[in-house]
């Protein structure tokens, strides 16, 4: 992977990140807005995600029916995502067709219509999206964990929003949210692929620079106070399978401790891929928790997730409890394994192995231009692109002592929540 890229800030504050990659005749363009569920006050939860949906409902120049077809006709792939910290829209197109994506994004940064009948039909679509998620036991448990983990900080609520708010948010609320946060000075445009940066920048200036900047959007600054002791919760619902989640409060991804925590996750639960597109993962059968919990048949699966976020969030381990054991037995064996990594420094060899795994996952992700354009902008949402470029280097710098300290500092019972999903269709072993 080459590390050359160009960075520009237009007169209206729009940050442009460009990376030339000539491996395939493809360009991927992403527009990022610094607005996610963490800026939603109660009463308006889920509004950022709903606005993302409304952005596909058209402008006077590109009505929904036109917008809908234009990208697909050119063989493009497009979509959008709303997260805790950001909302993003992307198009990956044959390189000679990317101008359409740029025109479209410049247009819908300011001209989306938000027609009342579209708001009405999309209300039931976002409710349906939530209902589909509620079918999943791990969504129900994850939502309860998030709510318990954050009493003050707006990471408290699910990105999809609460049903009460999805029923009551009005058209003008959505439009106001759009107008407040969709501003060039609150956005990053990241483009990677088969183009020449100079010509690309010129075209971006023509399309985007005339959009006036706005006043800095309001932020909900409600940091979570430090936690004082372990929280435990249970969720009950349909199913035959018991799940156990353990979430530890962790610092923001820009914090230096994020890197020892990444290596720690790799040792405990196996390497996690940073790739949003392409690449695939690596199995975790030789990770410490797999050997201690799955090989010993206390659990049937384990997965670790250290989310990449702008503010302090959570490191979550999700375990599927073995039908012959209880979640309490599993938790006790889990705690033994955590204690081991806190008490004894990990061998350097185990860390070296984690670095090689991360390097392989990086190589897999670099096959994919959409994935590269994603990271070019995504890293700007919580740190900077340098964070991504130096990621492997920072992991390689983690020492056994760093790792042990991170385990001691963060994997404390006082710093965690433990949640169990109890299925109502069966019972745990006695």
């Amino acid at each position: 992977m080459n590390n050359l890229y160009h960075e520009h800030i237009l007169a209206n504050g729009l940050k442009v990140m460009l990376k030339e990659i000539s491996t395939a005749p493809i360009v991927s363009s992403w527009i990022w807005y610094r607005i996610g569920s963490k800026d939603e006050p109660s009463g308006h939860t889920g509004i950022s995600h709903w606005v993302e949906h409304m952005q596909f409902k058209g402008t006077p120049r590109y009505p929904a029916s036109v917008l809908d077809k234009a990208i697909s006709r050119d063989g493009g792939m497009w979509n959008a995502f709303t997260y805790l910290d950001w909302t993003t829209y992307f198009e990956t197109m044959p390189s000679d067709k990317i101008d359409l994506a740029l025109r479209l994004e410049a247009d819908r940064m300011v001209n989306s219509t938000y027609a009342s009948q579209e708001v009405a039909s999309e209300r039931t679509v976002v409710i349906s999206e939530r209902e589909g998620s509620e079918n999943e036991p791990l969504f129900l448990l994850g939502e309860a964990m998030q709510q318990a983990a954050f009493r003050i900080h707006p990471y408290h609520h699910e990105i999809l929003g609460d049903l009460a708010d999805l029923k009551s948010i009005r058209r003008d609320d959505l439009y106001q949210h759009y107008k407040t946060y969709y501003q060039p000075n609150n956005a990053v445009l990241s483009i990677a692929g088969d183009f020449k940066s100079r010509a690309m920048l010129k075209r971006i200036r023509e399309l985007f620079e005339k959009i006036p900047s706005g006043s800095p959007p309001p932020r909900l600054a409600r940091p979570e106070p430090s936690v004082r002791g372990e929280h435990r919760l249970t969720v009950e619902g349909p199913g035959e399978t018991t799940y156990l989640q353990i979430s530890y409060h962790t610092p923001a991804s820009s914090h230096p401790d994020f890197f020892p925590l990444t290596v720690l996750d790799s040792l405990l639960a196996g390497p996690s891929s940073l790739n949003m597109f392409g690449g695939g993962g690596i199995s975790n059968k030789t990770s410490r928790l797999y050997r201690a919990l799955i090989e010993k048949e206390l659990a049937v699966s384990v997965n670790g997730s250290l989310s990449v976020t702008a503010d302090p969030f959570l490191y979550t381990l999700t375990l599927t409890v073995h039908p012959r054991h209880t979640s309490e037995e599993l938790l006790s064996a889990f705690d033994d394994e955590v204690k081991r990594i806190q008490d004894e420094p990990a061998p350097q060899q185990e860390i070296t192995r984690a670095i090689k795994q991360a390097r392989a996952l990086f190589a897999y992700g670099s096959e994919n231009i959409t994935n590269q354009a994603f990271w070019l902008g995504h890293a700007e949402m919580f740190a900077s692109y340098e964070w991504f470029l130096t990621y492997l280097e920072k992991l390689a710098g983690v020492t056994p002592a760093d790792l042990q300290k991170a385990a001691q500092d963060y994997l404390r019972p006082q710093n965690r929540l433990v949640g169990t999903y109890h299925p109502t269709n069966t019972r745990e072993a006695a």
Partner: protein, 431 residues
């Protein structure tokens, strides 16, 4: 080194695979090797299959082929499960197996420096598995947990029930991962016997794409698997004829306390090798794929706001395929959504498609090709399709012409051949 062996930098501007940059070799023991280079990233992907699918499973031991595939790396004559995975995972490599109806497939990836490790692990798992009893029981518990999760998944259960209606009396009605009672009925000796009889090099395919010269990839496969023989390997069983639906058949699976129901509505589709495949594929795009999921998406999601997802899909393979519409809706809206979908299917058959609609989907199929072939995994899948369905090494070069040659008339005739609004399979799963 001939120019043919350094393709990726000299390929056509489109970068589409073709006979000049894809190597295809049949080894003396019957393994077909396909390879194409891509030096853009220091990684490789392998994929392939052998003729050992769930068609060989007895009804009472359904899931045997899949269980066998998943147990291959749980211990071999040379190494324990921990040793096998320690080597793979330490290299950041991945290898996995699973069974379909016709074949047992594998897929793996690694840094190109570790291709030898990947291929030697593949060979060891295929040729020398020991199925340690303790590991078999651990795996069984994992499979059973997977099946109890499946039983609670509205989309999985609607899809499984749809296949049971559509393929009544045909092996395609059976889920490849079996049922709890059939997984319980499988003994270690069944795995050993299935492996001994059905695993072999004859008609096996291995495809390699990535940062390696194709000829070298062929040599690596030859080294790992070139001397593998199994004279007892049987011919794949013939598929029985399909029993066509005699009337629209509706079946509901009750899964209590769920907040959403899933619906699958459809009919049979063409074989992949049928000439109707391309017209059906384009018709399917218009019906429920193009843009935000075609006409179905427009009616069910955009206009009615009934669902977050509503789309159609065409599954075409070695045998008869299926052509279906899927959607997830509030349990109170199942009837409304079903009626809308059936109405849209009826309109599709009666009125056909417009020239503009067809042109849009043709343009989409051609335009998206470079994107689907951008990664090593995409190229491996393309090479495997070429081989499985005899498409020819020049298929992706001919593809734009194949797509453009389809007419609106062919689309409507194909739709009418398969879809009859009075003969639909309708499956729902929910509370």
């Amino acid at each position: 080194m001939s120019p043919k062996q350094k393709p990726s930098r000299k390929a056509l501007p489109s970068g589409l695979p073709g006979p000049d940059d894809t190597v295809r070799t049949v080894l003396p023991n019957g393994i077909t090797v396909l390879a194409r280079a891509n030096f853009n990233s220091p990684s490789v992907v392998i994929g392939g299959y052998l003729q050992a699918g769930s068609l060989f499973d007895p009804d009472e031991k359904l899931g045997l082929a899949d269980f066998t595939a998943l147990a291959l790396m749980r211990g071999t004559e040379r190494r324990s499960v921990q040793q096998i995975f320690d080597a793979l995972e330490s290299a950041g490599a991945n290898l996995s197996f699973s069974a379909g109806a016709h074949t047992t497939g594998f897929t793996g990836r690694s840094l190109s420096e570790d291709l030898t490790l990947l291929l030697s692990t593949l060979a060891e798992a295929l040729r020398q598995p020991t199925f340690p009893a303790e590991q078999v029981e651990k795996l069984r518990a994992q499979l059973l947990t997977g099946l109890s999760i499946r039983a609670q998944d509205t989309a999985d259960m609607a899809s499984l029930t749809f296949d049971q209606i559509l393929f009544l009396g045909h092996p395609y009605a059976r889920p490849e991962d079996g049922w709890p009672e059939t997984i319980q009925a499988i003994h270690r000796k069944d795995l050993v016997a299935f492996h001994r009889r059905h695993y072999g090099a004859r008609s096996m395919i291995v495809a390699v794409a990535g940062a390696i010269e194709p000829q070298q990839a062929v040599e690596e496969v030859q080294k790992a698997l070139g001397d593998w023989q199994n004279p007892d390997q049987p011919e794949p069983p013939a598929l029985p004829p399909l029993n066509p639906l005699k009337q629209t058949t509706v079946r509901k699976v009750k899964i209590p306390d769920k907040s959403q129901s899933d619906i699958v509505i459809g009919t049979n589709g063409p074989f992949r090798k049928d000439p109707e495949f391309m017209p059906a594929s384009l018709g399917n795009s218009i019906l429920g794929q193009f843009g935000m999921s075609g006409r179905i998406g427009n009616v069910v999601r955009e206009k009615s706001g009934l669902a977050y997802y509503a789309y159609s899909s065409l599954s075409a393979g070695i045998g008869p395929g299926s052509w279906e519409v899927s959607s997830g809706v509030n349990p109170g809206n199942v009837k409304k959504a079903t009626d809308l979908i059936c109405k849209e299917i009826a309109r599709f058959i009666k009125k056909g498609v417009s020239e503009d609609e067809l042109a849009d989907s043709q343009s989409n199929f051609i335009g998206r090709l470079p994107l689907s072939l951008e990664s090593n995994a995409g190229v491996v899948n393309a090479m495997l399709s070429i081989e499985r369905f005899d498409l020819g090494l020049d298929y992706y070069r001919r593809y734009p012409d194949l797509v453009r040659s389809v007419t609106t008339e062919q689309v409507v005739l194909t739709a009418r051949k398969y879809f009859n609004p009075d003969l639909l399979a309708i499956a729902t799963a929910g509370p």
